[in-house]
Subunit: 364 residues, 2 copies
């Protein structure tokens, strides 16, 4: 019997609001069943109730908490923090802070969700300025978690190790892998490659002490190969790698569509191959892997893509449920504590430069 869990939803978030959020719940229930799962829907009572009337399955497991207020998709994070109190997004996060809900899922404005979550829940990872965003990256072996792909532009060794700790616990909770393998993204696999921050993180991770299954450095092409389960990188490199991959996929798909409509013969071939091509498309459909947690907060927050379909939103809900039911928060809390001890034990840890230069010898 699964642990009872209550999931808080920002019913007004995303490009479509309740008309995707409510069918998203139905999609979740269809795939995973509704045993011991309940939902709190924050937003406009009338609009939500109208959608629920169309999805009978949802009536038994949902409760509406009315609010008129909504954070716009293009609102600046600073404005959302000042004026967002009482909005569906704000209240949805508050339900996690109060302990009522085990996780919140929102397809709302990313910057506002990050800012409000940080304000209400506070960071649990002391090295991070902002929550880390995880990308679930389709690979030849399944899915690899890549983080940070967002907000922490310059990451020192401590931050990179925090990403490793959070990424491992996330992957274990959501993909059921017991000891996920971890790699640090770099320009080569030898110890001396890359800049100081990755080399210091590599030395500390390799020395053990955090009970992580550390593989070593990985390169850009290792992500899609699925060489490791979790790829750790700073938010600048991670964001550029993710968008470069998306751009490459779109480029090839444009060329492919062009080729398959370039002649009558090619069109006939495409028609015959269509079922196989569609099955392939589903493997890399963004909705099939929708839902990125914001990691490093005292509470579980999952961001759905603003334009996700009901199936996509259902996936984001599943990630929230899996994390809420797992020991993610306690595992991460205990390992972040151990990391803190390790970083303090480093000689002259204050002078990161010197520590980095020497950590290779000291930690082995």
């Amino acid at each position: 019997m699964p642990t009872p869990v209550l999931i808080s939803l920002d019913a007004m978030g995303g490009d479509h609001g309740p008309s995707v959020v409510v069918p998203g719940i139905r999609e979740y229930l269809r795939r995973h069943g509704g045993e011991n799962v309940r939902f709190l829907l924050h937003g406009d009572q009338t609009a939500i109730a109208a959608e629920m009337a169309k999805c009978k399955l949802t009536a038994e497991v949902c409760e509406i908490r009315h609010t008129d207020k909504v954070v716009a998709m293009d609102e600046k994070p600073a404005t959302a923090m000042r004026r967002g109190k009482g909005s569906s997004l704000w209240n949805a996060v508050e339900s996690v802070k109060s302990g009522e809900a085990g996780a919140v899922v929102s397809a709302g404005n990313t910057g506002a969700l990050m800012a409000i979550s940080k304000l209400i829940l506070r960071m649990s990872a002391p090295g991070l300025e902002r929550p880390a965003i995880v990308a679930s990256w389709p690979t030849l072996k399944g899915v690899t978690a890549v983080l940070d792909v967002g907000a922490n532009i310059e990451s020192d060794a401590e931050q990179l190790i925090e990403f490793a700790i959070m990424g491992e616990a996330f992957h274990a909770a959501v993909h059921g892998v017991k000891k996920p393998t971890i790699g640090v993204l770099n320009v080569g696999s030898e110890d001396m490659k890359g800049h100081e921050e990755v080399r210091e993180a590599h030395a500390i991770l390799r020395a053990g002490g955090l009970d992580l299954n550390y593989h070593g450095f990985v390169e850009g092409d290792d992500i899609a190969k699925g060489t490791v389960d979790v790829v750790v990188t700073d938010g600048f490199t991670g964001n550029i790698a993710l968008k470069t991959a998306e751009g490459t996929a779109r480029f090839i798909s444009t060329l492919l569509k062009g080729a398959l409509s370039s002649s009558v013969q090619a069109k006939m071939g495409a028609l015959l191959a269509l079922p196989a091509l569609k099955a392939m498309g589903q493997k890399i459909d963004p909705n099939a892997i929708n839902g990125g947690p914001l990691l490093g907060l005292n509470g579980i927050v999952v961001k759905s893509h603003g334009g996700a379909t009901a199936q996509g939103f259902g996936n984001a809900i599943r990630i929230g449920v899996d994390l809420a039911r797992s020991d993610y928060l306690t595992t991460v809390g205990s390992k972040l504590g151990r990391l803190d001890d390790i970083m303090h034990a480093l000689p002259s840890a204050a002078e990161a430069g010197e520590a980095a230069a020497s950590s290779g010898e000291i930690l082995q």
Copy 2:
């Protein structure tokens, strides 16, 4: 009548040595003609002559300079520098230093070619520790030059602008674009996005003074879109972006092959679409875009992929010829001088941090 040019070749470099280098010359001659082009082939007289006997076209335009010595493909750069004197790679670079040749093309060991070229020719870009490597990236609009994808792991604003200057002159010489557009790779397009180094480079480039066609910040997915002709980034991010794109392309191509052989019907479709798919494959064939110059040296050095075909090596030769015939070196030299003046005029340029914070206002 094209300007007369002599190209120096490391005939022993690459996985195949003269058996690709000599047919590579023939490929070049077939496509571009031999008017006013001559080649100096450094390496084993007997092996080269045997290949030339099979390629009659080459006999009139080639001269062999014999040497027994070869730098191995797996030799460490430091060893190659100490022991490489008199090798085909070394002598090929020497021919540029002496002024005899206008460019050198080698498919040899990248690290050794960089180290020996730097030792013999010296850097012309004062900010660079090592030559920058350019990737010719296939895009929806043609080809975009992305640099550095290699050796300069941490690049400050001055280095990024040096990449912009060299990338522009390279693209103009090789692709015949008069004023190539330039973008700095970042995680967003707003002025305040990204770290200090990209923001400072952005402010200086936007202020003008270097006669560059500066577009602004670009993101990862802009590369394959062909938003700009030249994308500038540090060697760490550039290398990871390039390998991530290669990994993504390989991932999709593996899925595609799997899909097109997943059923009898799909196989029949693939057979019909084969000519169109082959034509598409040629657009992204690495040999069609082979040849990456090492920029920032007092001389033109082009690196061919070690496993390139004769067609690929012919492309690398074309890049060497185009650069040697262009005003690449003088344009870059004059703009690097102007950049030096601009950087010195920045208040407290020594304290990069403060300069970066203020350059936005000062330069506009």
